[in-house]
Symmetry: C2
Subunit: 342 residues, 2 copies
């Protein structure tokens, strides 16, 4: 359906001059006569030639743009990382363009290609829950010069720096807090176990239980995604059990919110009958009439550090060094009404 | 600081062949010998030449990417418009890249240039609160072929299609609802009056009062932005007045949320002592223990229709017609606990 745009090939054909001449004329090259320049310009205008990054790219080879791919733009966590990235990079003249993968590996791959084609100087990715094939990422690293940096949701790939938080520590602290509040039967809403962040949160939960000599019960680990709806249905399901939970550590604030809605629906008292703690410190956890405890992931800082890793890599690169960095930030536990019963 | 990337000029210089030859070799052009192709490819690899959209653009002149600029990505309204846009355009092979202006005209202008340089096929913009100079937008329309479409926050510029909602109607319905609930002294938190959407909401508020023979009192119109903090401080300020409001129609859900927080702080009963209604139907309005009434702007539909206006314009364009469309959607009033006292 789309009409093809005029290219410099079309102009070259029309004027019967070489593509190089057209390109140089459009770039105001000194070796091209004023007469030819004017002819090319006039023809380009006549043919509705779109002055594009072609000329600029040919001239400078530099675009000063970075790309970022996130599962979704509309969670506080990802939008805050992007804000941190912009704050770090904009003083250095970089602009940030954003793509969302809708948490789907196939779209993520397409968005990666989109960003490569727009010639960004670096691509920051937080991978999708179903991303498994990393071959094309490795291929990008070997066939292009475009650096890739993973943040939060990552896989370990040689040559790719990563910026994460210590999810194990955050989950451990959240679970320990529930234990210290006197909860005895603490369930875990686990998030997608294809992602390292959720594996680490699960491990932190199990390790805290073990450290306090409490049993790790497989049935108490509920495999959820990270939506409100999954939180509601998980809470509904576990409340029908004989042995009911008296606390939930959710790997996601959204499933925690779903649990809280269902807890209200079941007319249970929070934090007395049941305690809840989430993960991410999404703003709504504070907005709630009964505020939800959560683990803050310092997303703005994560964005700033991600940007800084890129800026440093340019410096390193120009002295011929490639350094792969693995940076881990420490999360902060926020104790609020949903879990504070002492 | 940034190291310049290798361009096809560098390869051309190194091999002492024309730029066109390098370009054609990289594009696998039939007129170039296999030997030359291999030489160019090897040199490109050796020089770390970044295979970029250059070659593709030269070949096809088409990128199949659209750009969108929004003030912020992290409100439900804007992220939902973007979702609608993606849903409409992705079946047609278009990818969406997103930039945020941080509600600042200077950044918006830079992002516009970024998108133009990445050769997007269309730019969708919801303008910043301080955008006033539209000369550069007009310049883009006359000097490039890139269509621009405004959604929600717009200015009227010949040649630019706009997709908005009927803000006047939404504000009128919200105010009428408060009147019908028996509120007598209805204040308005107005939002930035540089933006048409907020002008229209103010007019809808005033027209509803007038229609019901209630006085329009200048002092009851509070000039706020659209943040939670501004809602809190506005509520604090007006509650110190002799004649206090018994209801607030806020042009923004965020200032409405701020008002609700301060109402709770003042130990007032909602909706008995004071009623509140917001605008945008942000998800938190439902999450609240005491849910907030709001006006839904059907953002996903707005995104879909925006995408469709672009797709139709391509069709029209190929038959030589340029149609400027002005589409206005009808908002929906959601009545919740914060304003329902009957």
């Amino acid at each position: 359906m789309t009409k093809k745009n005029t290219t410099i090939y079309d102009i070259s054909k029309k004027l019967n001059v070489s593509v190089a001449t057209v390109s140089r004329a459009l770039n105001n090259h000194p070796r091209i006569s004023q007469e030819t320049k004017e002819l090319v310009m006039a023809t380009a205008k006549e043919m509705n030639y779109k002055q594009n990054n072609l000329a600029k790219a040919l001239k400078s080879g530099e675009t000063k743009t970075v790309g970022v791919i996130v599962p979704y733009i509309n969670t506080n966590f990802f939008s805050s990382v992007i804000r941190g990235l912009e704050e770090e990079l904009s003083p250095h003249g970089y602009r940030v363009i954003i793509c969302q993968s809708h948490d789907d590996a196939a779209i993520e791959k397409k968005q990666l290609n989109t960003l490569l084609h727009t010639q960004v100087d670096c691509i920051f990715i937080s991978i999708s829950r179903n991303t498994s094939d990393m071959e094309y990422v490795k291929k990008i690293l070997t066939t292009t010069n475009t650096p890739i940096i993973f943040f939060d949701r990552k896989k370990d790939i040689p040559g790719i720096s990563t910026i994460t938080i210590d999810d194990h520590k955050g989950a451990y602290a959240a679970t320990e807090h529930l234990i210290q509040q006197g909860y005895k039967n603490i369930y875990h809403f686990s998030g997608d176990q294809n992602l390292e962040i959720y594996q680490n949160r699960l491990n932190g939960y199990m390790d805290a239980l073990t450290a306090y000599k409490m049993p790790v019960i497989k049935d108490n680990i509920i495999n959820t995604g990270s939506s409100i709806e999954e939180g509601i249905s998980a809470m509904k399901a576990i409340w029908k059990r004989k042995i009911k939970p008296d606390a939930i550590f959710s790997a996601s604030d959204f499933t925690a919110l779903g649990a809280c809605k269902e807890i209200k629906n079941l007319k249970l008292k929070m934090p007395q009958d049941i305690g809840v703690i989430g993960f991410s410190n999404e703003p709504f956890t504070q907005f709630m009439e009964l505020s939800i405890s959560s683990v803050d992931q310092t997303p703005v800082l994560m964005g700033k550090i991600s940007g800084n890793v890129f800026l440093e890599s340019i410096k390193d690169n120009s002295s011929g060094i490639t350094i792969e960095k693995k940076l881990v930030l420490t999360p902060t536990l926020y104790i609020r009404q949903s879990s504070k019963r002492k």
